[in-house]
C-alpha cells in the first residue's frame, strides 16, 4: 500500500474559507480539518481540561479527544474530525460541557 492512499494530501491551493475562533478571524484552505487550521493558526491550547490544563490537537485521527472545541454551539466537537466551513463559529472548550449545549445555546 503506498503512502498516498493512507494520507490525504494537504489542500494547499483550496479556496480560502473564514471562520472565527473565540471571536478572532481565521483563514484556512477549504478541505482542511479544523484541527489543522487551528494548529497552523497558532500554537495556543484550543481547550482546557476539567482541571484547567491546556490541550491542543494531538492524534489528528479521532482517538485522543484532545482537540475538543465548541463548533456553532455544539460543545465537545472533535476538531480533527471536522472540516472548516465558511462562517463557522468556533470556541475553545473550557472544562467539561454543560448539560444543555455550549455557551452559545
Amino acid at each position: 500500500m503506498n503512502i498516498a492512499s493512507r494520507f490525504q494530501t494537504p489542500p494547499e491551493d483550496g479556496e480560502p474559507v473564514q471562520f472565527t475562533f473565540d471571536g478572532e478571524l481565521v483563514t484556512a484552505p477549504i478541505g482542511t480539518s479544523l484541527a489543522a487550521a487551528l494548529l497552523s493558526h497558532s500554537g495556543d491550547a484550543s481547550r482546557e481540561t476539567a482541571t484547567g490544563a491546556g490541550r491542543s490537537a494531538f492524534c489528528m485521527m479521532g482517538v485522543c479527544f484532545d482537540c475538543l472545541v465548541e463548533v456553532d454551539g455544539t460543545p465537545n466537537t472533535q476538531a480533527c474530525m471536522t472540516l472548516v466551513r465558511d462562517g463557522m463559529v468556533v470556541k475553545r472548550q473550557i472544562g467539561l460541557r454543560g448539560l444543555t449545549g455550549g455557551n452559545d445555546v
Partner: protein
C-alpha cells in the same frame, strides 16, 4: 511449600472475594487472594455501582433484611476503605428513584415495595410519587414519565474506584493478591486443608478455601461438591461524555458518576457467556434515558459495554459451607457492590463461626436441593 501456603485462600479477586478478604484480614487472618485471567468475565469491572435496596427481597424476607443491613453498614465501610486505601469511593446515599413510563408496571412495583417494607420495617423506606409530585420535585423530568418510587436509603458509588480501593485495602491489611493465578483444581488433603493447582502448573496449599470466583466458580464449585448452579445474565450499559452539571437525581437506570459521566443501563438478557453489546439494546437504553430526562438527548454516548451478572438460580446470595470437605466455602451473589459492606464485616463471623455470626441459614445452598425435590 511454606511460601505457597496460607491460612485462608480466596479464589477470585472481584468485589466479592476482595470484600471477604478485607473482613478476614481485619479479624487477624492470613489471607491470600488468587485472581484469574484478564480474559475472565468480571462483573466487578462492568457494573453500575448502585448501593441499592428497592425491590430486593420483596418476596424473600431474609434478603430484604440482609440488603437493608448492607445499606446501613456502607458509611462505615466506605470510611474504612478511604482510611486503608486513600481512595474516596464517592459514596452518595442521598436516595434513589425508579422511574416508570407505564402505570401498570409502576403499580406492580409499588406492590413489591410494600411487601419489602412489611418484611423489614424501618430498615426500609419508600414513597410512591405521582407524575405531578415528581415534576414538582425534579426539574426536567420527561412528559412520558408517569411516576416514580423513591427510597431515601438508596445510592451509589464509583464502581471502578471501589474495586481499586478494595484491592489496595486488602494489600494495606497485609493480604496478598496474586493476579494471573487461575485455579484449575482444588484437591482436599486427607488430614485437612486443600491443595490448589494453577493453570501455570504452580501449586498452593491452604487450610480454608473460599470460592468467590463469580462465573468462574461454576466448574470448581461442582468439583467441590457444591450444588449451586451459577448462570450468567447479560446487562448492557452506555456511558456519556462527562458533564459539568450534576443530574438532579440518582436512579437505578440513569446515574451520574462523580467524575461527570452518566451511566445508563439496567437491561437483562440470557446470552450465555457472550458479553458483547448489541445495537438494539443500546438504542433502547438511549431512548429510555431521553424519555426520562429529555436534556440528555444532546449528550454524546462515548462508550458502551455488556457485562455478565453472576446469578444463582433464585438470584439471592449463596453462603454455603461444604459438608463433604470441611473448610471449603462458596460465596457468591448478584449485587456484590451493595452487599460488600457485610461481606467485609459480619460475614467474617459466619466464616469464623463466632458467637456473633449472623444467621445465614436462608442463604445456604440446600434451598436448591429442596426445590429440586419438590
Amino acid at each position: 511449600m511454606s511460601a505457597k501456603h496460607s491460612e485462608i485462600t480466596i479464589i477470585g479477586g472481584g468485589v466479592v472475594g476482595l470484600s471477604v478478604a478485607m473482613g478476614l484480614l481485619q479479624a487477624g487472618r492470613r489471607v491470600c487472594v488468587l485472581d484469574g485471567a484478564d480474559s475472565d468475565a468480571r462483573a466487578s469491572q462492568g457494573n453500575f455501582g448502585l448501593v441499592w435496596g428497592q425491590g430486593k427481597g420483596w418476596n424473600f424476607a431474609p434478603y430484604a433484611k440482609w440488603t437493608g443491613e448492607a445499606l446501613a453498614a456502607w458509611p462505615e465501610f466506605s470510611a474504612k476503605l478511604t482510611d486503608l486505601s486513600g481512595i474516596d469511593v464517592a459514596l452518595d446515599q442521598s436516595g434513589g428513584f425508579e422511574f416508570f413510563t407505564d402505570a401498570d408496571e409502576m403499580d406492580e412495583f409499588a406492590g413489591m415495595l410494600a411487601g419489602q417494607q412489611s418484611h423489614i420495617g424501618n430498615r426500609f423506606s419508600h414513597e410512591v410519587l405521582s407524575a405531578d409530585d415528581l415534576h414538582r420535585q425534579i426539574d426536567g423530568i420527561g412528559e412520558d414519565v408517569v411516576g416514580a418510587t423513591f427510597s431515601k436509603f438508596d445510592g451509589h458509588v464509583n464502581p471502578l474506584r471501589f474495586l481499586r480501593a478494595l484491592r489496595l485495602s486488602v494489600q494495606a491489611l497485609g493480604g496478598t493478591v496474586k493476579t494471573n493465578a487461575q485455579v484449575t483444581s482444588v484437591d482436599p488433603v486427607t488430614n485437612g486443608g486443600f491443595d490448589l493447582t494453577l493453570a501455570n502448573g504452580d501449586t498452593f496449599g491452604a487450610e480454608k478455601v473460599l470460592l468467590c470466583a463469580g462465573l468462574g466458580a461454576m466448574k470448581l464449585a461442582a468439583d467441590l461438591g457444591f450444588r449451586t448452579k451459577i448462570r450468567p445474565q447479560r446487562g448492557e450499559l452506555l456511558i456519556t461524555e462527562k458533564l459539568r452539571d450534576r443530574l438532579p437525581f440518582i436512579s437505578s437506570t440513569i446515574r451520574q458518576v462523580d467524575e461527570g459521566g452518566v451511566q445508563i443501563g439496567g437491561t437483562k438478557a440470557d446470552a450465555g457467556m457472550d458479553d458483547s453489546e448489541t445495537l438494539d439494546v443500546m438504542a433502547g437504553l438511549a431512548r429510555h434515558a431521553v424519555q426520562v430526562f429529555p436534556a440528555l438527548a444532546d449528550v454524546r454516548v462515548i462508550r458502551a459495554w455488556g457485562a455478565l451478572r453472576v446469578m444463582s438460580p433464585d438470584g439471592y446470595p449463596v453462603y454455603a459451607q461444604s459438608n463433604e470437605h470441611l473448610g471449603a466455602y462458596l460465596v457468591t451473589c448478584h449485587s456484590g457492590v451493595t452487599l460488600a459492606s457485610l461481606h467485609a464485616s459480619v460475614l467474617t463471623d459466619w466464616i469464623e463461626d463466632t458467637s456473633a455470626a449472623p444467621d445465614l441459614e436462608a442463604f445456604d445452598e440446600h434451598r436448591f436441593t429442596l426445590s429440586n425435590a419438590a
